[in-house]
Chain length 338, copies 2
C-alpha cells in the first residue's frame, strides 16, 4: 500500500489537475518518490467513490469524463469521520457566507482523529487556523495549506524553512487573480461587466464574481497570510476592504495618463501589538514592483527585520501551479521522500 | 557553552555585520534561540584572535574599532585544522585567479575533520561543490552556503525545502549588484569610469572592479546556482561570458529610446543531458520582469516542470541581507532552534 492514503474532498479544477498530475507521474522525474494513493473521493453534487485498495488516477479521470459523476453516495463529513485514510485533501469551494464552513467541520473531523489535513481551501485557514493548528498538534497530526495563497508558490513553506530568525514586520501583495485580469481588460477600454465576462471566458472568474470584485477573496487570503506569517489573529471581517466594483475604464485611462496603474493591493502592517490589514485600490507608479504584475500573476513583498525586503512572484501560473501546492504539502508528510 | 562554537575566517564587511547582529541580538526577537559563540577569528592581514571560552561580539567590535586588527597571529588553514570548533564560517574574499583557493582548502580542512562549514565565499561552491558536499556527507558534516548568491535571499533553502517534486529546467537572473549599479549610473549619462567610481563611493564596487565588469562574478554565482539547482557540473570557465566593459552611455541611451533597458543577465538552460550557461548583455523590454531591477537589487526566475515559473527578488538589500544568509545556515545547524 502507498505511504499516504488520501481522501479527496472536492473535484473541481484543482482536484482534477491534481489527479491528472498523478496520472502523468512518469513524465515528472521529481515525482518518483511521491508515494500516494487515493482511497476515496467525495464531491458536493457529483457523487463519491471509495475503494480501500486505491482508485487509479486514470480510472478516476475516465469515470468523470464519461459519466460526469462518481458512482457512490457518500457525504464528505461522514467520509472524514468514518473512512480509513492518512490525509484529508480538502479541495471543496470557499464559502464566505459560511465563514469557512462546512470545510472547517471536515478539517476538524479529520484532525480530531489524528489524520493530517492538506487544504487548498482558504476558508479554514482564514477563519479557524489557530483552533485547527492547535487541534492538529494535540492529535499528532499536521494542518498544511500551501495551495491557499498565491496558488502553489511557496509562501508558508518559505516562512517555515527559509526565514528563520527574522521577524516579519509587514506584508504587501497582489493576491487576487480575477481582479488583476479584470483591471487589465478595463485598461484596454472594456467596462466592468465586459471585463468580467472576458475573465469568465478565460476560466479565471467564477460564475458569481462578487467575492473577487468586492475584495473578499483578497481579504481572506491576506488574513491567512497575516495570521500565519505575523501571528495577527485576524478574521477576514477585520480587514479594511475595498473592491473594484466602482471603477470605470475612464479611471484606469486617467491613471495611465499620469504614468500609473490601478491595482488591488493587500497590506498588513504591525501597529504596536496589533496588525492592521487592508485591501485597497491603489494607483501605483510604473516603477513600483507590483505595477507590472499581469494577468493571473501574483506577487508578495515580505518585510523583515534582518533579511530586509524579499519579493516572491508567480509568473503565468496555471492549474498545475495550484495543484503543486497540494503536492508540496504531501511531500512534507511523506517519510523521507527525498 | 553555546550550542555552536564558530571559527570565523575573514572579517570584511559581511563578517563585521554578522558580529554586529550578534551584538544587537536583543533587538531581534527571532534571534532568541540563536545560540552561537565565536571561539576564534582569523583574517588575511589583520591578525587573529582565539579564545576557547568565546569572544564576546562587542569585544571583537571594540578591538577592531580601536586597533584596526586583532592581537594574535594564526593562519586560517592552521586554525581550521587544529582549533576546536563546530562550524567554520568562511568569509574570506573570492579569488577568481586562484579558482576558489585558498578558501577551498580551508573548507576541505574543516569538513575533513567532521566540522560543518557555512560559506559566504562562492569560490568553493563554484569550483568544488561536488567534492566538498561529498566530503561533508562522508564525515557526517554539512556544507551550507546560502549567502553566496543573491546575498542572504533564500535560494538554496528554497530549492531544498520549497520545490520538492519539481525538476528545475532553467534559471535566469540578475545576480551581480555592481554591474547593475554601474549600468544605472550610465543610463544617467556617466561614462564607465565615472559610473564605476560612483559604485565604489557607494561601497558596492570593489577597488579592483574587473571581476564584476567582465562578468566573472556573475559567472561564478551562476555556476553555483546551476550546479546546486540543476546538477549541472559546471565550472565558471564553462559559462559563455560577456561583460559590460565595452558599453557606452550612448548604448544605454539608444536602448532607452527604443523602450528598452540594458541589463547583465545570467541564464542556465537544460539542453539534452547538459546545461548551457551564459552571462550576457541583454536589451530588455520595459515590461520584462528584470527590467525594473534597480541598484543593488537582484532577481532570479526559476523554471520548473510542475509549479511553473517562480520569481524571487531582493528589494534594496544591504549588508544585513548577506549576513542573514550566514545566520540562516547556522539556524539549520542548531538543534531545534525553533
Amino acid at each position: 500500500m502507498a505511504a499516504l492514503r488520501l481522501l479527496l474532498a472536492g473535484f473541481g479544477n484543482v482536484g482534477r489537475r491534481f489527479v491528472e498530475l498523478l496520472a502523468e507521474r512518469d513524465a515528472h522525474p521529481g515525482l518518483a518518490g511521491f508515494d500516494v494513493a487515493i482511497v476515496a473521493l467525495t464531491t458536493g453534487g457529483h457523487g463519491a467513490w471509495a475503494d480501500p485498495a486505491g482508485l487509479a488516477p486514470a480510472r478516476i479521470l475516465d469515470q468523470y469524463r464519461v459519466h460526469g459523476r462518481f458512482p457512490q453516495a457518500l457525504d464528505t463529513l461522514e467520509a472524514a469521520r468514518s473512512l480509513d485514510y492518512d490525509v484529508l485533501v480538502e479541495l471543496s469551494p470557499l464559502s464566505i457566507a459560511g465563514r469557512g464552513e462546512p470545510a472547517i467541520s471536515f478539517v476538524r473531523a479529520a484532525l480530531g482523529r489524528g489524520r493530517h489535513v492538506v487544504s487548498a481551501n482558504k476558508g479554514p485557514v482564514a477563519w479557524a487556523e489557530r483552533e485547527l493548528s492547535a487541534l492538529a498538534r494535540s492529535n499528532g497530526a499536521r494542518f498544511l495549506f500551501e495551495a491557499t495563497v498565491m496558488d502553489g508558490a511557496p509562501v508558508f513553506n518559505l516562512r517555515r524553512h527559509c526565514l528563520r530568525g527574522n521577524t516579519i514586520t509587514g506584508i504587501e501583495g497582489i493576491l487576487n487573480s480575477t481582479t488583476n485580469v479584470v483591471l487589465g481588460a478595463m485598461e484596454q477600454g472594456l467596462g466592468l461587466a465586459a471585463a468580467v465576462a472576458r475573465a469568465q471566458a478565460l476560466g479565471i472568474a467564477e460564475a458569481d464574481p462578487r467575492a473577487d470584485l468586492e475584495g473578499w477573496d483578497a481579504a481572506v487570503k491576506l488574513t491567512a497570510l497575516a495570521n500565519v506569517l505575523m501571528d495577527a489573529g485576524l478574521t477576514p471581517e477585520a480587514v479594511a476592504r475595498q473592491g473594484i466594483e466602482a471603477l470605470t475604464p475612464e479611471d484606469l485611462a486617467a491613471a495611465r495618463a499620469q504614468g500609473r496603474r490601478i491595482k488591488l493591493v493587500c497590506e498588513a502592517v504591525r501597529d504596536g501589538g496589533a496588525v492592521r490589514a487592508s485591501v485597497r485600490v491603489r494607483h501605483l507608479e510604473l516603477d513600483h514592483p507590483f505595477a507590472r504584475v499581469e494577468g493571473a500573476g501574483s506577487v508578495l513583498r515580505i518585510h523583515t527585520d534582518i533579511l530586509g525586503r524579499l519579493i516572491l512572484a508567480e509568473d503565468g501560473p496555471d492549474l498545475s501551479t495550484t495543484a503543486y501546492g497540494v503536492i508540496a504539502d504531501l511531500f512534507a508528510l511523506l517519510p523521507d521522500a527525498m
